[in-house]
Structure formats: structure tokens, C-alpha cells
């Protein structure tokens, strides 16, 4: 998943999770708070109801006492008539418990018949009471509305009906009582200052209301929520604001059963819910803190992610930039694993090769290079010009440079190969070369005639010439020769620049070479009246060089020195050897080299003074060519000069130690190891290490010497340095592996560039037994040589694996390690040539090959004596008829490594000829 989307998903997830968490916390909190509130309210209600019960009980008690008093008076009055001792009754505490203030008895018309206290005026009992009692024959007590007296006290009437013996209405007995008494229970409850007790008449008038010290009587509650609720339900609960004191209360009420009264208890909400509120506050604080914490956490997380995202963004951007650079690069580029397998190839490279990227991936760069060009080193920055075989069969020229990228531990992590398409450049270069070559040859043809004619005329073939004509002919002849030299030099320069100058490197003894060059220039020296003297040390000095080219250099230096020497002076040629370097100096007594010219002296066509140079007949290319030749030979060319005193031109080349004749020593009993190493000190060191370990070492300094030695003696193993002069070690190993007498000799690479060499030789199974870097680890070297030598003696069965897929080759090589000796052939042609060269114990045959079918190889296999058994290892199925020709058939897709090895072993065991065949 692309990073941006992943980031989007994860940040959304964080926000969602945070919100969810916060929602959860708040829902739990609010639920908890609601629960707490419900609990608090419930507790309050429970208290209210308990207190309500007490108030009701108390009210009931008061009313019962009043009722009883009335019943007693009524009984007396019915028995005795209007002479009831009312004052006595009031004072008798068994009847009146101090509740009844006064008693009145009235007739059916309401007029007072008897009263405990004198009544004011002639007023009878309230006609409403009389009417109510007259209408109700249930004997239920009637409670009337409280009335305020003149002194401010309150009294309320409670009345009962008097019934005649015939059942008709006979009047009323009425007692006045203090309604405040009903609220006196307040003190015995746990009610607080703001809590309240209320006893209401059903008609909405309060008998008493008590809250703290405030007592009120007679308030009208008809419009109050309490009355509205009570009219609907006889008992219940509500929260309401007090009409007297504005306090909000939780109110519980019940309607009394036998009296028209409603009892209500109200607890002030604030103190009642105080505990709950504190708890709620705590809950809300905790929830808030948690919310903030979650928000901060989410924010921090997202910030961190944003940072990571920006870092990753940078990475992605860099990667994209790199990818774009890589893809759009004008040069072909490939990234490969340390084993050479291409992991990534850019568009340009694919275009150059004519393959799709997925066809390129998994192959090695070398597999695209023409086999003949593979030996060229192209590791670590050095570019080699090689030919690539395109998919369409065409050839592309490429500059291939591979750089090794190491990880922090220093191991090879990646190889980056840059492939420059130089096909067009090559074409143009070839055209240029052809042009230069053509022009030069075309010039030579007329020059040949001119020179020949002039030579003949000057030589007197056409008869003697007059003096003037002779001079003119000489001038023409000299200039003609100069023109020829110029053309030769141009051709040489062209060859050097195009890298086509071939050097045949061999050991050259310098003194004879110098003497010959001096002799060849003797005539020229004599013309100038100059003597050339050679100084050489008594012992021979040798270098590795191309003798002809070295002679060309010496001749150039000599002719320059002679040309610039004053007559009768001497040119001194001095040969010396110091610190492994052979030095040749050519000293003249000429005018020296002007300071301003010294910088340009080695440039092409540079001459100190054009008029001078014409007089001296130079081409202006000689020193440029000489310097290039010496440098190609691995040396340096330079000069010292003093104006007016003369110049010394000198060149140095690495001197070679004379090679000790390897054949000279007597018969050797110890195993012989060939040490191929150009550095004499390292070579001697390796031989010493081998000597200590019981091996005899021969030294070869070049690939050519190695071949010579390998042809003459039988070696148990060889060590190869990869950086050899001329042909390098990798090329040598490859060529040795192709030739039957040397292909079996184990190779141990001892080189500072072992890693790169390993990459180059990758896939060429069994090419090298061991890779050792420099400096040399003596133990590893000795162990490697021992193992290589003993491994060789064990003589594993030799199998030809005909297989074009390099991956399967690699796998097979890995499996066969130490069990079989595998040789690979990628095509029918290669297989035939391998079979023509040697006998195999078994052939492992793929059927699909680039140039035909595996069956095409069968005649060559069957031509071997005895014919080796064939194991078909292919994706194709083999028809039954064909199975008779082979020993076993394995299908690639369902053959494990173990099965492959087991099958090969089994087939080898079943082949009787094998025992007799190998000795």
C-alpha cells in the first residue's frame, strides 16, 4: 500500500479511536452521574416517604384524638341534651389531650345549642359545614378551612354529624383545634432548615406548612403543582419551587384515607443532592482530564506520525527522484546483487538490449556481453568497451563500468553498472579511423611514386645531374620522406587513440635494443656530425615490453637528440637500474628546451619553433607517440633541460627479475603449485608460505608464462592474481577453463580485487576453488591449497549439464558442490563441443535449448565410448518411446534438490562401465 494512504488510514484511525474513547468515557460518566443522581433522589424520596409516614401518623393521631373527643361529646349530648359539661370535657386530659381549643354544638339549623366558650354574636356554625354534614350520612368527620382569630392565632374546625333516632340530620358537634399542632411532628424528624412539611386540605387550603421556624397556615395551594399532581394521583412525587421561599424541593405526598387531607414532605434539592453533585463534579473532572489526555496523546501520536511521514516522504521523494534519474537516465543503468544478478534495469538499458525489464532481471550483465568480450575487466569504475548481443541479434557497443557499493560493514551490497551506448560513437570512430587510414593510404600511393622517382633521380639512375638540379631533387626527396614520416605518425597516433595499437609484450633485454637503435640511427648521426655513446651496466636489464614499439620510442628520442645536437658533440645514452626500475636517458648538448615550450612539448604537432622544426624535419608527433607508448607499457617518460646546456629525455619501465628456469630443478616429490603473480615480492612470499606447508611453488609473472608452465608440468593447483600485466587473471582463468589439460587444475584467486573478480566470474561454476584477498592470510591460503589439492585427487564423477537457464545452472552448481563435478553447456553447439573434448560420466539434459532441442545432443552423447547415461531434466514431458534412450526423466517443476542428487547417484551406480572407465 502506498505510504500516503497508509498514513491517511492510520491517522484517521487514531482520530476515530480517540473520539470513540472520549465518547465512551463521557457516556460512562453521564450514565454514572445519572445513576448517582437517581440514587440520591431515591434516597431523598425514601426519607421523604418515611417522614411522610410519620407526619401522616401524627396527623392521624391528632385527628383521632379530636374525633374521639367529639364522639364523647356527641354521646353525652345525645343522652343528656344540651347540658354537656363542655369545659370539663376540655379539661379532662383523658378526653382532650390539649388539642381542642373549644367545642360547639349546633342544631339542624346551625344555631348554637351549647358552646364551651361564649360565641361572638349570634353566629351559628358555618352553614357550609352544616350543609356538608347534612348531605353526608357516612359519619365521616368534616374538617373545615382554618380561620385566623383576632389575636393572630389560627384555628381549624373538625365537625361530626348529629343524627336523630329516625336517622334525620340533627345538627353538628364541632371542635376548634390549632392546625399548627399538625406540623409539630417536624421537630422529631431529621428535616433541615429548608425542608418542609405540608398538610393540605383537599380543597387546596393548607392546614399547616412548616419549614424550619417558619410556620404558615391557610395558604391557597389550588394552583400549585402539588395540588395538580394530587388531583391526578393520590400519592406521588415531584420537584417544585417553593411558592413561599423559592427553594426547589423534592416533594413526596400522599392523600390520607379517612380524612380529606394531603400530607407532603419536601426536601430542599440543594442539600439533598449535594453529595451527588460533588460526585458528579468529580466524575466530570476525571472525564475532562481523560479527554484532554486522550486528545493530547492523539495529537502527539499524529505529530509523531507526521514527522515519520515527512521523513518517509523525503525517502519516497528521494527514491522517486532516484528512480526518475535512473529511469530517464541517458545511459543504461543496472543494479545487481553481489552475485551479479540484475535486480533493476532502467529503460535505456532495456532499449539498448532490446529486452523488457523483466527479461533482464535475474540475468547477469555478463550474459548479454559477447563471450569474446567477457574477459575485459569492467569492475570498480573502470569502463571497458564491450559488445552486447541484443535480443534481435544485433550487436550494440557499450562502455560498461561497474561500481561496487558496500554496506556499512564493508561487504559488497550492490553493484551499480553504468552502460553507455557507444554504438554510434563506435560507428563514427570507425568511420574516422577508416577515413584516416584511407587518406593515409591514398596519400602513400602518389608518395610512393614521388619518392621512388626522386630516389632514382637522386641516385643517378637517370644519369648524372647538374649541381643545382641535384640540390633541388635532394630537397624534394627530404621533404617527401618527411611527409611519409608524418603520415606514419598520424597513423600511429590514430591507432593509439582508438586503442588499436597492439602491443606484443615479452621480456626485452634493453642493452641490445638500445645498441640496435643506435646502430640504425648511425647514418643520421653521421649526417649531423654527432657521435652516439651508450653506457650500460654490466648485468642485463630487462623489462616487459613490445620490442618494436620500444625501439620506435628510442629512435624518436635519439633522432631528436641528434637533430638538436651541435656538430661534433656526443649524445649520451645511459641505461641504469635502480629500485626495480629500468631507466633510459638520452642526453644531448643542444640548445635545451625553452621554458615556455615545456608545457606543450608532449602535445600533438607541437614544436618549439615551426621554422626550426621544418629545418629539422620533425613531424611534431614523435614525443606524443613516444609518451603514449611508454605509458601503455606501464612506464613514464619525461625530460629535464637547461637552456643552452642541453636536454635529457628519460623513460623508466618496471624492471623484471630474470625468470629462473622452472625446468632446471630436479625431480620433485612435493605437490607442485603454480603461483601466477606479477609482483616478485608477493610471489616469493606465497612460495615461502607454500614451502612451509609442504608444497613446491613455481612463479609465473604473466598469463603467457603461466600457460608455458602449465603446458610443461603437471600442477596440483595454482594461485592467480587477477591484476596481471597484459591479459588479466579473470581472462586467464576463463581460457584455462576452456582447455582440457588445464581445466581440472584447481584455481585459488589471491588478489586485492578478489571480490570484483568473483562477480565477474559468477555463474561459471567450479571456475575457482577459493577467493583470497590481499594482504594474504597464510592460514587461509594454505588451507585453500590443501583443500583444492585433496579435492582434486578425490575425482568426483564428471557430469555435463546441458542447460541454458543461468539460474538453474547456479542452483545445480550449488547442489553438486563436493559431490559431482559439473560442466555446463548452454546450447546444443556447446554441448557437442564439450562432448567432443572429453568423456562424461553422465549427461543432465534440458530439452529446450536456444538453438534446438536437447534431443539434438543425443547423437553426440551416444557417440561417446561408453555412452554416458542421460538424465533428462526439463519442463517438457518425454514421450514413452523416447524414454528408452535415457536413464531417467525428471521434471523441473516437481524435482527437489535431494531428488535430483539421489537420481544422479542412482543412475551412476547403475552404470557398470563407470568402474572400469575411471582409473
Amino acid at each position: 500500500m502506498p505510504f500516503e494512504r497508509r498514513y491517511l488510514y492510520s491517522s484517521t484511525a487514531i482520530v476515530a479511536a480517540a473520539l470513540l474513547l472520549i465518547a465512551l468515557i463521557w457516556s460512562i460518566t453521564s450514565e454514572r452521574v445519572a445513576y448517582e443522581r437517581a440514587m440520591a433522589v431515591k434516597d431523598t424520596r425514601d426519607d421523604n416517604r418515611n417522614i411522610g409516614s410519620m407526619v401522616e401518623e401524627h396527623t392521624l393521631g391528632v385527628l383521632s384524638a379530636l374525633n374521639q373527643g367529639l364522639a364523647f361529646v356527641r354521646l353525652q349530648y345525645m343522652r343528656d341534651g344540651p347540658q354537656v359539661p363542655l369545659l370539663q370535657v376540655l379539661q379532662d386530659s383523658s378526653i382532650n389531650r390539649g388539642l381542642i381549643g373549644s367545642i360547639e354544638i349546633a342544631g339542624p339549623d346551625g344555631r348554637i345549642v351549647e358552646a364551651s366558650a361564649p360565641t361572638v354574636g349570634n353566629a351559628g356554625i358555618d352553614p357550609a359545614i352544616i350543609a356538608a354534614l347534612a348531605a353526608d350520612d357516612t359519619d365521616a368527620p368534616f374538617i373545615g378551612a382554618p380561620r385566623q382569630e383576632g389575636d393572630g392565632t389560627w384555628r381549624a374546625p373538625i365537625a361530626r354529624r348529629l343524627t336523630q333516632p329516625d336517622g334525620s340530620f340533627g345538627g353538628a358537634v364541632l371542635a376548634w383545634f390549632d392546625p399548627v399542632e399538625l406540623g409539630n411532628v417536624y421537630r422529631r424528624t431529621s428535616l433541615g432548615e429548608d425542608d418542609a412539611i405540608l398538610v393540605l386540605h383537599r380543597d387546596g387550603r393548607a392546614l399547616v406548612r412548616r419549614s424550619g421556624d417558619r410556620v404558615t397556615v391557610g395558604d391557597d395551594y389550588n394552583d400549585a403543582p402539588l395540588m395538580k399532581a394530587a388531583r391526578q394521583n393520590p400519592a406521588g412525587s415531584l420537584v417544585t419551587r417553593g411558592r413561599v421561599d423559592n427553594v426547589i424541593r423534592i416533594l413526596d405526598y400522599t392523600t390520607m384515607r379517612d380524612y380529606p387531607l394531603i400530607v407532603a414532605v419536601g426536601t430542599a434539592e440543594d442539600p439533598a443532592l449535594g453529595g451527588y453533585r460533588r460526585k458528579a463534579r468529580d466524575y466530570y473532572s476525571i472525564a475532562s482530564v481523560a479527554t484532554i489526555a486522550i486528545a493530547v496523546l492523539a495529537f502527539v501520536l499524529m505529530r509523531a506520525m507526521a514527522k515519520q511521514r515527512s521523513a518517509l516522504d523525503d525517502l519516497v521523494r528521494n527514491e522517486r527522484r532516484f528512480r526518475a534519474t535512473f529511469d530517464q537516465a541517458f545511459v543504461g543503468m543496472a543494479q545487481s546483487a553481489p552475485d551479479g544478478q540484475i535486480l533493476q534495469a532502467n529503460q535505456k538499458l532495456c532499449e539498448m538490449l532490446g529486452y523488457e525489464e523483466d527479461e533482464v532481471r535475474g540475468r547477469t550483465m555478463d550474459s548479454f556481453v559477447l563471450p569474446a568480450d567477457r574477459d575485459m575487466p569492467h569492475h570498480d569504475g573502470r569502463a571497458a568497451q564491450q559488445r552486447l548481443l541484443r535480443k534481435d541479434g544485433r550487436i550494440a557497443w557499450a562502455d560498461i563500468a561497474t561500481t561496487v557499493v558496500r554496506d556499512s560493514a564493508g561487504a559488497v551490497d550492490r553493484c551499480v553498472t553504468v552502460v553507455h551506448d557507444i554504438t554510434e560513437f563506435k560507428r563514427i570512430d570507425r568511420m574516422k579511423s577508416e577515413f584516416v587510414s584511407m587518406v593515409s593510404h591514398e596519400l602513400r600511393t602518389p608518395l610512393t611514386s614521388i619518392r621512388g622517382s626522386l630516389g632514382l633521380v637522386a641516385g643517378g639512375v637517370a644519369g648524372a645531374l647538374p649541381e643545382a638540379a641535384r640540390n633541388l631533387v635532394d630537397i624534394a626527396k627530404t621533404n617527401c620522406e618527411r611527409l611519409i614520416r608524418l603520415i606514419n605518425d598520424i597513423l600511429d597516433t590514430e591507432k593509439i587513440e582508438s586503442g588499436k595499437m597492439a602491443f606484443e609484450i615479452a621480456e626485452v633485454e634493453l642493452e641490445p635494443l638500445l645498441a640496435a637503435a643506435i646502430a640504425a640511427n648511425q647514418g643520421f648521426a653521421e649526417q649531423h656530425g654527432v657521435m652516439v655513446v651508450l653506457h650500460a651496466p654490466p648485468q642485463p636489464v630487462r623489462v616487459m615490453a613490445d620490442a618494436d614499439r620500444l625501439t620506435q620510442v628510442v629512435t624518436n628520442l635519439l633522432s631528436n637528440a641528434i637533430k638538436f645536437s651541435p656538430p661534433n658533440s656526443a649524445v649520451q645514452v645511459t641505461l641504469s637500474e635502480a629500485a626495480g626500475n629500468a631507466q633510459v636517458e638520452v642526453q644531448d648538448r643542444g640548445p635545451g628546451i625553452a621554458h615556455e615550450f615545456r608545457d606543450r612539448i608532449f602535445r600533438k604537432f607541437s614544436q618549439a619553433d615551426s621554422s626550426d622544426s621544418r629545418a629539422r624535419g620533425g613531424t611534431g608527433l614523435g614525443l606524443n607517440i613516444s609518451k603514449a607508448i611508454i605509458e601503455k607499457l606501464g612506464g613514464t617518460l619525461g625530460f629535464t633541460s637547461e637552456v643552452g646546456q642541453g636536454s635529457i629525455f628519460h623513460f623508466g619501465l618496471p624492471a623484471v627479475v630474470p625468470r629462473t628456469a622452472t625446468a632446471a630443478t630436479g625431480p620433485r616429490t612435493r605437490p607442485l603449485v603454480l603461483v601466477i603473480e606479477d609482483d616478485p615480492d608477493i610471489a616469493r612470499l606465497i612460495v615461502m608460505m607454500l614451502d612451509k606447508a609442504g608444497f613446491e611453488g613455481d612463479i609465473a609473472r604473466t598469463a603467457a608464462e603461466a600457460r608455458e608452465d602449465l603446458a610443461q608440468r603437471r600442477y596440483a593447483a595454482m594461485t592467480v592474481d587477477l591484476k596481471l600485466p597484459g591479459e588479466d587473471g579473470v581472462a586467464l582463468i576463463r581460457s584455462l577453463r576452456r582447455e582440457p589439460p588445464t581445466r581440472e587444475v584447481p584455481v585459488i584467486v589471491v588478489s586485492a580485487v578478489a571480490d570484483e573478480g568473483r562477480i565477474q566470474l559468477n555463474g561459471e561454476a567450479h571456475a575457482v576453488a577459493e577467493w583470497l584477498g590481499k594482504p594474504i592470510d597464510e592460514n587461509r591460503l594454505v588451507r585453500a591449497v590443501r583443500e583444492a589439492v585433496s579435492g582434486r585427487e578425490s575425482q568426483h564423477p564428471c557430469i555435463l549439464h546441458v542447460e541454458d537457464d543461468p539460474d538453474i545452472q547456479r542452483v545445480a552448481a550449488a547442489i553438486a558442490q563436493g559431490i559431482f563435478h559439473l560442466e555446463f553447456a548452454g546450447t546444443v553447439a556447446e554441448a557437442r563441443s564439450a562432448l567432443a573434448q572429453r568423456h562424461f560420466d553422465l549427461v543432465l539434459l534440458d530439452l529446450r535449448l536456444p538453438d534446438g532441442s536437447g534431443w539434438d545432443v543425443m547423437p553426440a552423447i551416444e557417440a561417446q565410448d561408453p555412452p554416458p547415461p542421460v538424465v533428462v531434466f526439463s519442463v517438457d514431458d518425454v514421450p514413452l518411446a523416447a524414454r528408452a534412450r535415457v536413464a531417467a526423466v525428471l521434471t523441473k517443476t516437481d524435482t527437489s534438490n535431494e531428488k535430483l542428487v539421489a537420481t544422479i547417484r542412482d543412475v551412476l551406480a547403475r552404470t557398470p562401465e563407470r568402474a572400469g572407465m575411471r582409473s
Binding site: R444, T445, T448, R451, G452, G455, L456, V461, E504
Partner: protein, 130 residues
């Protein structure tokens, strides 16, 4: 081959060079030269030329030096007459090619008319002696 070099069958398409070389070989070297302007002419003249040596230019139109040599080898008279190539193409690989064709040696162009006869005689003697 231990006889003296006298008659040379010389093939060169360039008239001027042919003239100069013929003159140099005859006047300076004292050889008898049968000069031909092309491979075809050489094939015509070869049966009667009684040449001791074939001296062939390499680059010629139509039949070049090597093909002229091949054709001459088909004739009984020149089946094993020694041959020297005379050419401006004297790179190491090219020389190796001429020697592979059976040439005694190569004389490079431009040649020095005063010494070319001496060079050819030296090559001849070396081949006879060895």
C-alpha cells in the same frame, strides 16, 4: 630455391609506382622485371614469364593481391613460385595474414628505390638459406 634471383613477375595497378619500381629493380637491382597492371594481366603473362619471384601489390581493383596469388597458384608455372607482397598495409595483423598466405615477407610502401632491390635480395637469400 637455391638459385639466383633474376626474373620477377611484378603486379601493380598504379602506373607511376609500376614505372618507378620497375626502374629501381632493373636499374639498381639488375633484375629482369615483367610488370603487369592487374591480376588478370599477371595470369596472362605468368605462363611465359619464367619468374623466379612474384612481387604483388595488395590493394588493387577487381583482383587484389591475395586473389591474384591464389589464381597464380592454380597455374603450373607459378604453383610454387616464391612470393613477396609490396604494400602500404603493414600492420602486424596484416603482415601475419600475408605470411599465412605463404609470402616470404613484405616490402612496405613507400619504398626506397635505392634500397628496395637490396631488401628483396636479402629476403630471397634468407628464404633460400633457411
Amino acid at each position: 630455391m637455391a638459385r639466383e634471383l633474376r626474373r620477377i613477375l611484378y603486379v601493380e595497378d598504379e602506373a607511376d609506382i609500376r614505372t618507378v619500381a620497375k626502374m629501381a629493380l632493373e636499374a639498381v637491382g639488375g633484375f629482369e622485371v615483367v610488370a603487369c597492371a592487374s591480376g588478370e594481366e599477371a595470369l596472362r603473362l605468368a605462363p611465359t614469364a619464367r619468374a623466379d619471384l612474384l612481387l604483388l601489390d595488395v590493394m588493387m581493383p577487381a583482383m587484389d593481391g591475395p586473389s591474384t596469388l591464389c589464381a597464380l597458384r592454380e597455374l603450373p608455372e607459378t604453383a610454387d613460385t616464391p612470393v613477396i607482397f609490396m604494400t602500404a598495409k603493414v600492420q602486424a595483423a596484416e603482415i601475419a595474414e600475408y605470411l599465412a598466405l605463404g609470402a616470404l615477407d613484405v616490402v612496405s610502401k613507400p619504398f626506397d628505390p635505392m634500397s628496395v632491390s637490396e631488401d628483396i635480395r636479402r629476403i630471397w637469400n634468407r628464404a633460400s638459406g633457411g
